[in-house]
């Protein structure tokens, strides 16, 4: 048994933020984590732009297709389909160790060092007061926490466009946004011309907030616009949890123990005993601490809490419904593309019906993903599709739409026994939108498509990947003031315990459509700050 003041379970965005806050508050912290890493690809990728690599590197297939050509395999669209070979470690061993029975729901889980945030799209969004209230998050502490997190990770965005209140809000010390690529710049220009009409329909367009440095910060470099965001982290310009944990590792009060999968906890007179499965040799390990912070993602936390505290309950679940629409921007067809750019979200489109009812559209240029991925979706022979797409690609954008989600009866998760699983169990998930939600989402998507047409981006078709593909999950252990089992107090404490806290999005009682990662980091900081202040 190893003893610590605080144990943080999970090294993702929430775990990294919670650990940093606890360390800064003077606690001795251990982070327990499965911690799987990419040990093959990162070192292979040369410091060149995507186009330079394509033109000069004979071994490029190793990281663009995978050493075993795994990325070239014919695969249907679904959660994780966008992961390139250097990012596939994010889902390594998940099927083996995190068993799931989820029907048509297709969530993405991770056992990676950095969790899902090891490959997140870096887009940030500040929740409005109404969104915070519906999510049961206290406004004043969250506003302060947003600023703390923004100062830690570095966020770029526009301080003066129409979308500001949805993206950076009132955050100070925001870095300037990276340059727009020519296709996005054309859409932004058209928006300025047709702004009154678009705004009249309830839509605004602007630059997204991104956890990407455009100026150096804390030893991390500014983006060099190599267009390699889908493959590597470009000198640390993109914030990943690994950046924060690397800094914490230098602190004498911090210990990181990778290679363990925490399975359950027991609390006895306020002292916590943790049981973990050692992924290296399959043995069980035990840890002790005074306070436990669960930050291993909504499903990871649900597994641990259900094993520790309950046998048969069903938990609620929230996940943004996501749709994407490939579009063509006619004015950009047959044009060249600049070598220096970035592949992240270029523009964000927001539709506000009420202050807590905001849907989000994100617009990417299809720049640094391989063309063959598009060829297999085309209704033409591969040769003709190649010729056609070479012409269309410079005007090809992908628009993704996220819808806000609230709790309904048909969205739930529970634990089942599974004798074939290394942990002896699995999660089961049922996730159904209500007919009214489906109708509403489709109506809203038609509205988004109409605005895109107004801007000169012509939607080709709407693709509905399986529910769960948005990779935004929340709501399994909802915040509440009553001391009820399987719910959280407002300070993140798991009801029925004295010293077990949950610092990920499990407590949110509503899931806004805005990107969730910044808010879950801010919430993790808020909860850890409360723990650090306890006697």
């Amino acid at each position: 048994v190893i003893d610590f003041d605080c144990i943080v379970v999970g090294s993702g965005a929430s775990g990294a933020m919670a650990a940093q806050t606890l360390i800064e508050g003077g606690a001795r912290v251990a982070m327990l984590d499965a911690g799987l890493r990419d040990d093959r690809y990162a070192r292979l990728i040369p410091e060149k732009t995507f186009v330079d690599i394509r033109r000069t590197e004979p071994e490029q297939y190793r990281y663009l297709l995978g050493e075993r050509f795994e990325s070239a395999a014919f695969r249907r669209v679904g959660a994780g389909a966008q992961l390139t070979p250097p990012r596939r470690f994010i889902v390594e061993r998940v099927d083996e160790l995190l068993r799931l029975r989820a029907g048509d729901f297709a969530p993405l889980e991770s056992l990676a060092f950095g969790g899902l945030a090891a490959g997140w799209g870096l887009m940030c969004g500040v929740y409005s007061g109404s969104e915070l209230e519906r999510a049961s998050l206290p406004e004043a502490p969250m506003r302060a926490a947003y600023q703390t997190v923004a100062d830690r990770i570095g966020i770029c965005g526009s301080g003066d466009d129409d979308a500001r209140r949805f993206t950076v809000g009132d955050l100070a010390r925001i870095q300037p946004p990276p340059p727009l690529d020519p296709t996005a710049a054309l859409l932004a220009t058209r928006y300025q011309r047709r702004r009154a009409a678009v705004n009249g329909l309830g839509y605004v367009l602007g630059r997204p907030a991104l956890a990407l440095l455009t100026q150096p910060k804390d030893g991390r470099e500014a983006t060099r616009l190599r267009d390699m965001e889908f493959y590597c982290d470009d000198g640390g310009a993109a914030w990943r949890p690994a950046a924060t944990i690397a800094r914490l590792a230098a602190h004498p009060n911090f210990a990181y123990d990778g290679g363990v999968l925490v399975t359950r906890f027991d609390e006895n007179d306020g002292a916590i005993a943790l049981t973990a499965f050692d992924l290296r040799d399959g043995t069980l390990r035990r840890y002790g601490c005074r306070r436990l912070v669960l930050a291993c993602g909504v499903f990871g936390t649900a597994r641990i809490v259900l094993r520790s505290h309950d046998e048969g309950s069903h938990l609620p679940l929230l996940c943004n419904d996501y749709t994407y629409v490939p579009c063509l921007v006619a004015g950009r067809l047959g044009r060249s593309m600049p070598a220096h750019a970035q592949s992240l979200t270029q523009l964000a489109l927001f539709h506000e019906r009420a202050s807590a009812d905001v849907a989000v559209g994100t617009i990417f240029s299809y720049r640094s993903l391989m063309l063959f991925r598009l060829l297999r979706e085309m209704p033409f022979g591969v040769r003709d599709a190649r010729v056609l797409m070479q012409y269309l690609l410079s005007g090809f954008v992908i628009a993704g739409f996220d819808h806000p989600q609230e709790r309904t009866e048909g969205k739930r998760v529970w634990r089942e026994s599974d004798s074939s699983s290394p942990t002896g169990d699995r999660l089961a998930i049922a996730y159904e939108l209500t007919p009214a939600e489906r109708r509403d989402h489709r109506t809203r998507e038609r509205g988004f498509a109409g605005v895109l047409r107004t801007l000169g981006a012509w939607p080709l078709r709407r693709v509905h990947p399986p529910l769960g593909s948005s990779i935004h999950y929340a709501g399994t252990l909802p915040y509440g003031d009553e001391e009820r089992p399987l719910t959280l107090a407002r300070d993140g404490r798991l009801h029925g315990t004295r010293n077990v806290f949950v610092a990920d999005a499990s407590g949110f009682t509503f899931l806004p459509a805005k990107p969730v990662t910044l808010s879950l980091m801010a919430n993790a900081h808020r909860i850890a700050d409360g723990i650090a202040r306890r006697p």
């Binding site: 070239a72 391989m370 591969v382 040769r383 003709d384 070479q390």
Partner: protein, 124 residues
């Protein structure tokens, strides 16, 4: 077999012979992904190179995950990551005349696919 396949598929996709290294890379990739097995449509297409285009066009409409399509897409992926052929995949500046050529190739693709749809029942 895979090297012959690679030669046929490569020259179909790019309109010219591809190099030995690309053929070898395709053979390795096909082995890794267990794309070695073939079906009657692929065999037919490999024996009659003229039929690859119509069969590919028809399968894109009715059976996009057919073995022939999977192999052609794999060949495309392999060629796309060879510096020698990257200009066949990267976007390029095109004139209005080029746009007309692209439109003509799309029209030709439609005709070929229609022919392929007629051909498919006999090949199966």
């Amino acid at each position: 077999m895979s090297s012959d396949e690679a030669a046929s598929f490569g020259s179909y996709l790019l309109g010219r012979e591809i190099d030995a290294a690309s053929r070898a890379a395709y053979a390795t990739a096909a082995r890794e992904l267990a794309y070695d097995a073939t079906d009657r449509i692929t065999e037919f297409a490999l024996r009659r190179a003229w039929s690859i285009a119509p069969l590919d066009g028809a399968l894109a409409l009715v059976r996009p995950d057919a073995p022939l399509r999977k192999k052609l897409l794999l060949m495309a992926a392999v060629l796309e990551t060879r510096p020698e052929y990257c200009d066949d995949f990267l976007p390029r500046e095109r004139s209005t005349r080029d746009a007309l050529a692209v439109a003509a190739s799309v029209a030709r693709a439609g005709v070929l696919a229609a022919f392929g749809l007629l051909l498919l029942p006999f090949v199966r």
